[in-house]
Amino acid sequence: MNWTWFHRLGSPPHAYRLAQRLTPWFAWPAAILCLLALYGGLVLAPPDYQQGEGFRMIYVHAPTAWMSLMVYTTMALAAAVALIWRIKVAHAAAAACAPIGASFTFAALVTGSLYGEPMWGTWWEWDPRLTSELILLFLYLGYMGLRAAIEDPQRADRTSAVLAVVGVVNVPIIHYSVSWWNSLHQAPTVMRFGKPHMSPAMLWPLLVMLIGFTLLFAALLLVRLRAEILARERNAAWIREELGA
């Protein structure tokens, strides 16, 4: 198998230019799909027979919650690649993931709380998914805190990469233990999110939003990756050429 593409991807100038070229290919579809899904979810979809109009929060809440996990997995994957093959660009990608993932996690918590208020009558419920989401936010904060605390950039990269890998092993364990814990203490009246039976008119905007958010993440990642590469390579000759041109 020819691995040159893999190593070319690892070269900062190549990755920088590739990210620049790819960004619009993700950003525009993301914007179009998100708008389409918003229209479908807020206007076309019928109100839920139990939850009324309040259920529409799911069109933002579920995709952000999904993204919060996906971004963490991506970050850990990039970190593992960077650790194993010593690829600097992969470290930059992992670093770029963290704030995006933390933002999605935070958004999932806020929308969950907004969603919960009409459903449960409280702003916060120790629902297993919200609890896991909260713990995930702390995992992100720990990752960013560790990265910021280490002065040597190479060591910061490699140490936080170990943490990301440790974290991703723990995410399913945490999720399982929290669900287990919740099943012991759960009050029977609590309303559950994400009903398995949604009518197609309700479902398609959710799926479109999911794809839209994934593309949005890709676009944000590419932009942040470029910023990371610029900051890391600020003294390199190719950057002067790039910006001079």
Binding site: I135, F138, L146, T159, V162, L163, N170, I173, Y176, S177
Partner: protein, 249 residues
């Protein structure tokens, strides 16, 4: 001097110069035992430090009756949670010392360069840490549990759950301690890294103790706790060895 050199060069000492590096004649097990022995010896030279996490554990459990109510019936309801939160915090407190001195005086560097698998040495260090903090906590727990209104019949269950749970906590903590090596004032960051990873241990451990206090069978959460400890034994030393190597770069 030059004569001596030439004379000696004629007969190089094969044991030393042999190109096949003389593999450490010390077995892995013996090396790990030395690490354990050294840490225990050092700890007993500083007994005062040894008692601190224990004293912390007791004083934290003491806060709750003062903050909530002296009624044993009310305390009994939260006793399992209080014991586990106190144990978690006490074991966290001791973590900062796990690698700090070794990193400072160059011992970690020599461990890395010893030619022995670092993972095994990290495991030995974590074992020493558990013997010095986790095990004493579990042994002290009955006193704290009784003062929180737990029935005497619950004590064996509480001790067993703490013995298994603190093994997992020490292992998870060793990762956090290794990751924060070389960071000044790392205490809060260490807590931020370690606590989310420790939550499953807290959940299963507190549940086991709670069931023990209620007089119910505790096998299910104990098994889950045991699974976490086994997972920790297999994976945590790998992660802390990787983090220690990186900290020396």
């Amino acid at each position: 001097m030059p004569e001596l050199q030439h004379a000696a060069l004629g007969a190089p000492d094969a044991a030393v110069a042999g190109s096949a590096a003389p593999r450490a004649a010390v077995t892995l097990l013996a090396a790990a035992r030395l690490v354990l022995q050294r840490d225990l010896t050092l700890a007993f030279r500083r007994r005062a430090q040894l008692v601190q996490p224990l004293a912390f554990f007791v004083i934290v459990t003491m806060l709750f009756p003062l903050a909530i109510s002296p009624e044993l019936a009310r305390l009994r309801e939260v006793a399992a949670g209080v014991l586990w939160v106190a144990a978690l915090l006490a074991s966290l407190l001791a973590l900062e010392f796990l690698f700090r001195d070794d990193a400072h005086d160059g011992t970690l560097e020599q461990y890395v360069l010893s030619g022995q698998p670092l993972t095994a040495l990290m495991f030995a260090k974590t074992a020493a840490h558990w013997l010095l903090t986790g095990l004493p906590l579990a042994v002290m727990a009955p006193l704290a549990a009784l003062s929180l209104g737990a029935p005497p019949a619950a004590l064996p269950g509480i001790v067993v759950s703490l013995v298994i749970g603190t093994i997992a906590l020490s292992l998870i903590g060793s990762i956090g301690a290794a990751l924060t090596l070389g960071i000044r004032r790392s205490g809060v960051l260490l807590a931020l890294l370690t606590l989310p990873l420790s939550l499953p241990v807290l959940i299963f451990g507190a549940r086991a103790s709670e069931l023990a206090i209620l007089g119910d069978p505790i096998v299910a959460p104990l098994e889950l706790l045991g699974a976490l400890a086994v997972l920790g034994i297999t994976l945590a030393p790998l992660a802390s060895a990787a983090a220690v190597r990186i900290s020396l770069e």
